[in-house]
């Protein structure tokens, strides 16, 4: 469903993502872990078709995200870490705009009340995005991602800035989407959430995939049975030299 092959992204002389290869199957949640500056957001943006990969390929439902953007993105949803939204649209208009972009007005009509109420946005439906708090914006961004029933979902730090109730709701939503057959990729710093929510984990550092597998597999490979994910994560990302491009 989501197939990433040798993904590489350079910014001038900085190598942000280097030869990243993995796939996410239907009904699977993958956690993308890594320290700050590991290239997680860059990788997600390449997969979402926002950044153009320097090398490698990304296939969504079999469509190349560079060569066949429209079809690749038709079933994709992306929730950025700090979503920048259209300030002069109301909450409901924002949902409608996304549904229009994905040509899923049927879902907008049937799903909007459920989503607005689930994310406590019902009473804000006619308010401009400009007036929303940071947490409410995050919730709206999540609602926008879910309005068109995508089967590949990308979340960049989705739980940051959301209150506990909203966080619980979002985690349930992600699990529901997984159970419905969606392929989900989540970038996060919250290791305990990743451990509970994700079926497999990818640990990247300085753009390189350092380890991948289930928590049990990672324990087996990098630690002992009684070690926490935090210990394993810290041991994997303890030291490394940055991959720098040759002049």
């Amino acid at each position: 469903m989501l197939d990433v092959r040798g993904l590489r992204k350079e910014y001038k002389r900085h190598l942000a993502v280097n030869d990243l290869t993995f796939n996410v199957q239907p009904g699977e949640i993958i956690g993308l872990l890594g320290p700050n500056g590991a290239g997680k957001t860059t990788a997600l943006r390449c997969i979402a078709g926002i950044l153009r990969p320097t090398g490698g390929e990304v296939f969504i439902n079999g469509f190349d995200v560079v060569q066949d953007q429209a079809r690749a993105k038709a079933n994709l949803a992306f929730v950025p870490e700090v979503p920048a939204l259209y300030e002069l649209l109301t909450v409901e208009e924002h949902l409608k705009f996304i549904a229009m972009c994905f040509k899923r007005m049927d879902l907008f009509e049937s799903q909007k009340e459920t989503l607005l109420s689930r994310y406590r946005l019902s009473d804000k439906r006619n308010e401009l995005v400009a007036t929303l708090s940071k947490g409410m914006r995050q919730k709206l961004s999540v609602a926008c991602a879910l309005i068109h029933d995508a089967n590949v979902l990308l979340f960049d730090e989705p739980l940051i800035g959301i209150d506990p109730e909203g966080a619980r709701e979002l985690k349930d939503e992600i699990t529901r989407a997984r159970d419905a057959g969606a392929a989900i990729l989540i970038s996060t710093h919250l290791l305990d959430t990743a451990e509970k929510l994700c079926d497999r984990l990818l640990i990247v550092q300085r753009g390189i995939l350092r380890a991948q597998g289930t928590v049990a597999e990672l324990r087996e490979q990098f630690g002992t049975a009684d070690q926490s994910l935090e210990d394993i994560f810290l041991s994997i990302t303890a030291e490394d030299s940055p991959p720098v491009l040759s002049a």
Partner: protein, 558 residues
């Protein structure tokens, strides 16, 4: 409805609706529409027209059409060269929301690019057309009056001239989009690519100018230059100007075929530029997400007058280095509220104000030498000296204050928790913004006094009076900034500048009255000091106190 049209229409309508939610926003909107309404409807009002002027007034005496062409060509050549140089500056600007919301959708990137072009350039390129059509009537009367000896010129000249200019600008805008998307790709050797493109775009015109300067170095007259501009080489080197000139000349020499070809040529080149940009639409997302957003931030901050925000963005990009003066100031310590002055000094010097100050001093010194170089000092020179110094204070103080107070609004979360009342915070903010201008004018007054001792009375008076004047200007700007604090609202920004200007003019009135009275009553100028200085400081303190109350209630989230 297409989602992009929905986005544009809803954003526009919600923006207007939002303006009615707040009195301050509403005032700004009314001012905005009132201003443009005046431009649009003024020509329809009855009033004296050019036709009612005396027939003895001079009409324009034009040379024959054929000799007019090189001048028109020269104007378009210069315009075209300037516009072509503009294609290398800046980046393709996108809004952050485009990157996060629009780009991950399956909408065709070419459509998104076209939407972006229309959104960014509607006002700059299409609105002038609107003004020509509706507001051009009054101007047309003037043009027709000037051309009344040549009625066949006047009826078309303005419209066709403006139309050609806009077509030329549109063409370079589209080419600019294509060129910028090309230049900002992930090139391994971007400098070489930039040079190659620059050579392709402006190489020929610049080569022509060099050749022209070289060939005419011994015989540079208007006649030889116009002769050279009529040559085939000039027509090729400045081909966009050739097309624009053909369009303008059509109604004058009745050669409609050439005119049509010229306009079509410009339109075809516009289309080619657009096509070139469209072919690179997939690169647009990448550039917008990486570098374009930086350009968008800077552009947005420049519009808001957030100069320190722009500098901070440049600093993030590594374009601003620390200088010795700011490091030296940073090593000093000022305890309590005067620390505001310390912070301001560091920011100003790190932000490059020292260059501005140095330029001001240099400019003043040059003018001073020219004006006061003689041994005799007339009353006129005395007036001039005072006016020049007051004008310098006005420019420096208002510029510094307008830049600085936007920063004050943005840093309200840092300033409010400090252990000072809002009035004290505002007062020290006002003082800190007034100091750079005060220092410059004190320094230049002392220098002028030393250089020309006969002006010592004026100099010593200004040394005392101008710092308090700077303080008063700073406080008026602070008040108008806090009255209309929404930096994101363009209408409110415009209105704030307008109110600020009026307030600053009022702030100048006490000084004008005192100096005028001193000159009229032949009172020695230093007597102005004990009257004007306390008055200006008192007014500044009062205005700061009022501003303090607004600052206490200021909430950036509103």
């Amino acid at each position: 409805m297409h989602p992009l049209i929905f986005l544009a229409v809803r954003s526009f309508l919600n923006g207007i609706k939002r303006a009615f939610s707040n009195v301050r926003r509403l005032i700004g909107v009314l001012f905005f529409f009132g201003y443009f309404g005046l431009i649009l409807f003024r020509p329809f009002q009855k009033g004296p027209t050019f036709r009612k002027l005396s027939p003895t007034n001079d009409a324009l005496v034009l040379p024959p059409v054929n000799t007019l062409e090189p001048y028109i060509f020269a104007v378009f050549a210069v315009l075209s060269l300037v516009l072509s140089l503009g294609v290398f500056s800046g980046k393709v600007v996108h809004r952050a929301a485009d990157v996060d919301v629009l780009f991950p959708t399956p909408i065709n990137p070419k459509l998104v690019l076209a939407f972006n072009i229309v959104r960014e350039f509607f006002f700059t390129l299409l609105m002038p057309f609107f003004f020509i059509v509706i507001g051009g009537r009054g101007s047309m009367e003037g043009v027709e009056y000037l051309f009344r000896n040549f009625p066949q010129y006047g009826s078309y000249f303005l419209r066709v001239g403006m139309g050609s200019w806009i077509l030329l600008a549109l063409m370079w805008t589209m080419i600019g989009f294509a060129v910028r998307l090309f230049l900002n790709r992930d090139w391994k050797k971007p400098a070489q690519v930039r040079w190659a493109v620059a050579l392709a775009v402006v190489g020929l015109p610049i080569l022509f100018i060099i050749l022209l300067a070289f060939s005419l170095r011994d015989n540079l007259t208007g006649y030889t230059v116009t002769g050279a501009l009529g040559s085939p080489l000039a027509k090729i080197a400045f081909w966009p100007a050739t097309l624009a000139t053909a369009t303008v000349m059509a109604p004058l020499n009745s050669n409609l075929l050439y005119g049509t070809l010229g306009a079509l040529g410009l339109l075809v080149c516009t289309g080619l530029g657009l096509w070139g940009a469209m072919q690179q639409a997939t690169w647009m997302y990448d550039q917008a997400a990486t570098r374009g957003n930086e350009a968008g931030n800077i552009s947005s901050m420049q519009k808001k007058g957030d100069t320190f925000g722009v500098l901070a963005e440049y600093a993030r990009q590594g374009k601003i280095k620390q200088n010795r003066i700011s490091k030296w100031i940073a090593a000093k310590t000022l305890v309590g509220a005067p620390a505001f002055i310390w912070r301001e000094a560091i920011l100003q010097f790190r932000g490059g104000i020292w260059q501005y100050v140095a330029l001001s001093i240099a400019a003043f010194a040059l003018t001073g030498v020219a004006t006061f170089g003689s041994t005799r000092i007339s009353t006129g020179a005395s007036y001039l000296f005072i006016i020049m110094q007051a004008a310098s204070t006005f420019m420096l103080a208002t510029a510094g204050a307008q830049i600085g107070f936007v920063e004050t609004l943005k840093r309200v979360d840092v300033l409010k928790p400090l252990p000072y009342s809002p009035n004290i915070t505002v007062f020290w903010e006002v003082i800190s913004k007034a100091i750079p201008a005060a220092l410059v004018v004190v320094l230049t007054s002392v220098v002028a006094g030393c250089f020309q001792p006969r002006l010592w009375n004026e100099a010593i008076t200004l040394v005392f009076v101008l710092p308090s004047y700077s303080l008063l200007l700073s406080s008026t700007t602070m008040l108008s900034t806090l009255l209309f604090p929404d930096v994101d609202d363009p209408t409110q920004r415009g209105f704030r500048s307008f109110i600020s200007m009026i307030a600053q003019v009022f702030g100048t009135v006490p000084g004008i009255i005192c100096f005028f009275a001193a000159f009229a009553l032949h009172i020695p100028l230093p007597w102005v000091i004990p009257v004007l200085v306390p008055l200006q400081i008192g007014l500044a303190f009062g205005l700061s106190f009022i501003s303090g109350n607004f600052f206490a209630n200021y909430n950036p989230s509103e």
